[in-house]
């Protein structure tokens, strides 16, 4: 069960990010995937690679890198992991 407060915070943030896209310069445009890291590989700074989360008929491909306090880099609606890596169309 997902806490409703957490859900509201993320929903509001995602909607605000989408609204900002209409006025922001084209710096976070969705980019085609290229050179995606290998799944599950461990590095000195943490795990890097493509990983899958599944719930019902939804499958989410995610990636993580580094270690320390978690930082969720939320892509905009319709965006891929590339948006967090600074790759633009």
């Amino acid at each position: 069960m997902i806490d409703s407060n957490r859900r509201t915070i993320l929903t509001t943030g995602a909607a605000a990010a989408a609204a900002a896209a209409t006025t922001a310069p084209q710096v976070f445009a969705q980019a085609p995937q290229a050179g995606a890291p290998q799944a599950g590989a461990r590095t000195a700074s943490g795990r890097q690679g493509r990983i899958l989360y599944e719930k019902g008929n939804v499958r989410i491909r995610y990636a993580e890198i580094g270690s320390g306090f978690p930082l969720l880099a939320m892509p905009g609606g319709g965006s891929t992991r590339a948006s967090a890596s600074g790759r633009a169309r």
């Binding site: 993320l10 084209q26 995937q33 995610y62 993580e64 978690p70 930082l71 880099a73 965006s79 891929t80």
Partner: protein
């Protein structure tokens, strides 16, 4: 442009994902027309729960307008 993954990997455990409706992405799933942002939030929280993370910071990027 900022590469959030590279910029913060030495200080944070950075996690990102493909949205379920991303063109060229590897995530799949229906997007409910009555609450698409709620679905995205569910996915993001689901990934964090899947990883056992209850507290985290967040940053957001947004899809820009189509290039001309």
């Amino acid at each position: 442009m900022i590469n959030i993954m590279e910029e913060f990997k030495n200080d944070f455990r950075v996690i990102t994902m493909d949205q379920r409706n991303a063109t060229g992405g590897e995530s799949t799933g229906p997007v409910p027309v009555d609450d698409p942002w709620g679905a995205f939030a569910d996915d993001q929280l689901g990934v964090m729960d899947h990883l056992g993370i209850s507290r985290f910071s967040s940053s957001a990027t947004a899809s820009a307008a189509p290039s001309r």
